[in-house]
Every structure is written in C-alpha cells, then in structure tokens.
Amino acid sequence: MSKGNLLIVDDEPMIVKNLKITLEEYASEIFIAGNGLEALEIIKNQTIHCVICDINMPKMDGVQVIKALRDQQNDVPFIFYTGHGNKELMLEAAKYGAFDFLDKPNLDGLEEVVSKGLEAGFKKRDSQSSEDFESEYLKLLKELEKQ
C-alpha cells in the first residue's frame, strides 16, 4: 500500500537533509521546497498527502503558504515546526488548520506525527461513507451493550 507523498518546506539545507533521512521510510516519495513559493508550485503539480513546514522562511513564510492553500480549498494536513519565540506566528498559522506542531529543537515523535499526517491526507481523499460509519457505529454499540 502506498504510504503517501510528503513535502518538506524549509530554507535550511542541513535540516532538510536530516528530515529526509529520518522520514524516508514513512513516505512513498519526499519532495523538497526551499521556500513557500516553491512549495505552492510543487503542490500544484504533484499529489501531496502531507506537508511539514518551517514557519520562518524568506520570500513566503509558513503562514502565507497555508493561507494560500486553504484559499484554494486545499485541505492537505500541515505540520509546523519552529523554535521557541515564534508562538504568535504559530498561532496565526494554526488559524488555517494545523495538523500538528513540533517545537524545535525537540523533534520527538516526528515520525509518528508525519505518519498520522500522511494517513489523514489519504483519508481526506478516500473518506469513509456515512453508511459505512453508521454500520460500524451500530456494531460497536451492540458490543458495548454486551459489556
């Protein structure tokens, strides 16, 4: 089964390199963008299931990237990461719907967050029908009654 395509958006090549090595096994393909404009271009031409994005970048920051995508009705899950002191920018970005947040330099749980982001990106494209939910929900309720 395909794991989903990940886009890493960061202007620091060393960070990008490390993230790519760490996350290689979790994604089908990893795309790299050095700034927000490049990110929008890649998303326009590729199927991206999850974006991991630095908040502070030249040309176009993380907030502007997510805002532009949401304006295009693109709901791809966004994971933001940044250092301490950027909380206001993070909150601004969160207004447009963030899947998760990572605070540099602590990237514990990065792999789990990205896996879940990719999974959520897939589900958005193939969401469970309400009939399926109803049937599973009723089945679970019956099981609960038996407890």
Binding site: H84, K87, L91, K95, D108, G109, V113, E143
Partner: protein
C-alpha cells in the same frame, strides 16, 4: 489485602461496642481512641476502610484525611460528623481526600456494617494507582486554579499527565478500571482528570500514543479550562446552559484567556496551547473562532469530545460506563464529533481480547 478497618472514635464505650460487633462478624478492626498518638499507632499499616469521627481534634482529623490516600492503601474513608459540626467541615479537604461518605453522628454499628457491605471489592494495584493519580490531579488543578500557573505546578501537571499515560498504556484492562469505578463521584476539580483520562483512552485506540503526543495531550487536557480562572467567580461553577447572554459571552472568552495565560510560559508546547484555544470549536459552530472542522487541531478535537462526555457525567451524576451509553444515545451530540474519534472512544470502553493478548 483483606478487609481491615480503622475506627478513629474517641468515645471508648462506642468504640468497644463496634469493635466487638465487627469481630463477631470476623472483620479485623483497630480502634484509635487517643488522637495524640495516632501517627505512631498506624504507621506502615494498610486499611480497607476508615471510619473517622470528626469529634477528634479537628487538626488531627484533617491530618489523618490528608495522609490516608497516599500512605495507607487507599481505603474507603467515612467521616462521621455531627449536625453542629457540618458547617465547619473543610469541603475541599473532603474532596481531595476522596471521602467516600459523610455519616451523621450519632452513628450505629448497622451503618458501619452497611458501609463495608457496600464496598466489598478491594482494589487492584492498578486501581489504587488510578485513585492516587486522581487525587494528585485534583490537588494540582486546585493549586493551579487558586494560585495560577507557575513553573512548579506546570512541571507537576506534566509529571502527573505522564504517569496517567503510563498507566493507560501499560494496563491491558484499563476499561475494567473505569468500569469498576463504582465510587465515582463527579467533582469539580475531578473534571480535568477525567478529560485527561478519556482523551488518552481515545488516542491510545487511535494509536496516537507516542510519548510526545500523550505528554502534550495530558497537559492540554489537565489545564484546558485554565482560562476560566480569569472569569468572575460566579461563572466558574455555573452550567453554561443557565447563563444569560452576557454571561455566556464572557464564558466564551475562556479559551482565549487560557491561551494568553499559557503563552507566557515557553516550556508549554504549541500543541498544548492549541488544545486550550480550540477545545470548544465544533465545525464552524463552536467558539471562540467558529473555525471549520479542517482547521481544528486533532488533539483539540479529542479533548473537545472528552470534555463534553465528562461534562455530561457531571451534569447527570453518572458513572463513566453507564454514562457512555446514555451519551451516545444523543445522536445530535455524536454527529458533532469526528467519527473516528467517536469509534475510538467506544472501542476504548470495550474489553478487547486482541488488546489483552498483545500486551500480555
């Protein structure tokens, strides 16, 4: 641990009568009649039930109550209070010490026996840990609500959250612990603890259970309502459905107040502040920003569902297991939440053989 009763009763005649009756019912008991020397007498001993007469010197009674949970095997504590003393009983102490029941003075041997019959099941070590964590959570939340956030109580809340997470992760039959909470009492300061526990149960089923996620979730759930402390005192204990429009508008500001409070602490991660800000958002119908579903942080959705459920239990005075069935009966409520999270919540209450085998 077998049934072992500690009776702290200064009336020598009454104490002797009760002890004799208990012994004739093959129940081991110990009687304390001299409050001055109680610490030495009960050191390192475990009790299943404690019957404590508030007629003992007040300070001693409060000291006993405060120490019992942690040091004496988490007994059921029954406090005997005369009508005259009732107004002077320290209510927050009753709550934090998990007093099971307050008995009226004078009490009878029949009442004592009934207390024992009502609670024959003795707790497993996981249940005892659960109760200890509940007590500790109540204490730290009370401290935060009374004195505000500070570096020390943030660390305490984080540690308690991590311990709750460890217990939920390790205990294969955690649903049973919740099910057995027959002495469950929905208390005000207990609400954040329940929100934390239910949120973690949901995330565990969703397999969003890395240490980082659970840690953020725990702290976010424990202090999700911290912004309420910025509101007038009378609003804090009011049910939102009973508020007038002006009061409700103020109430709706508590997520932003909470955000402003937590933003002052760089050690609080952004994921926690998002939980605090968005725990009342509901697909364009919530507050403070009425954001659509896609813009709500997933962990905030988990806390939102748990918050609604814990509030339902509080309002209806129901235990979690019975309450879940009733809560799910309200389809309008269920449909407001993420279907995956609803399913995970139900699954977390169902004893799962597969789960047991995996963790065995």
């Amino acid at each position: 641990m077998s049934i072992a009763i500690l009776l702290a009763e200064p009336d020598l005649q009454l104490a002797a009568e009760i002890k004799s009756k208990l012994e004739s019912s093959s129940v081991a008991s110990e009687v304390l009649t001299d409050p001055k020397n109680w610490v030495g007498q009960i050191k390192n001993k475990k009790y299943s039930h404690v019957i404590l007469n508030y007629d003992l010197e007040k300070e001693v009674t409060e000291e006993i109550l405060a120490k019992f949970e942690a040091d004496h095997g988490h007994p059921k504590v029954y406090l005997v209070v005369s009508e005259a003393q009732r107004p002077f009983v320290n209510k927050s102490l009753l709550e934090s010490a998990s007093v099971t029941k307050v008995l009226d003075f004078p009490y009878t041997i029949e009442q004592v026996l009934k207390c024992i019959e009502e609670s024959p099941a003795l707790k497993s070590s996981a249940e005892q840990k659960f109760i200890t964590l509940r007590t500790l959570s109540v204490k730290v939340i009370e401290e935060i609500y009374n004195n505000g956030l500070n570096e020390q109580n943030i660390i305490m809340a984080q540690k308690i959250g991590d311990s709750i997470s460890t217990l939920i992760q390790k205990e294969k039959d955690f649903a049973d612990i919740i099910k057995n909470m027959d002495d469950y009492k929905p208390l005000i300061y207990c609400h954040p603890f329940l929100v934390c526990v239910f949120s973690m149960m949901i995330c565990r089923k969703l397999k969003w259970d890395s240490q980082r996620t659970m840690s953020s979730l725990a702290l976010g759930a424990l202090i999700h309502d911290i912004g309420m402390t910025a509101l007038p005192l009378e609003l804090r204990s009011m049910n939102p459905s009973e508020m007038n429009p002006e009061q409700f508008k103020l109430y709706q500001s508590h997520p932003i107040e909470g955000l402003n409070m937590t933003n002052k602490f760089p050690q609080i991660p952004s994921s926690v502040t998002q939980i605090i800000l968005q725990h009342h958002e509901a697909n364009s119908k919530g507050f403070p920003n009425a954001v659509s579903n896609v813009k709500i942080y997933p962990l905030a959705k988990v806390v939102s569902l748990s918050d609604k459920f814990a509030r339902y239990l509080l309002d209806n005075e129901m235990s979690p297991f019975a309450g879940l069935k009733a809560f799910l009966g309200n389809r309008m409520e269920v449909l407001q939440h993420d279907p995956e999270m609803i399913k995970a919540m139900i699954k977390s209450f169902i004893k799962d053989d597969k789960d047991s085998k995996e963790s065995a």
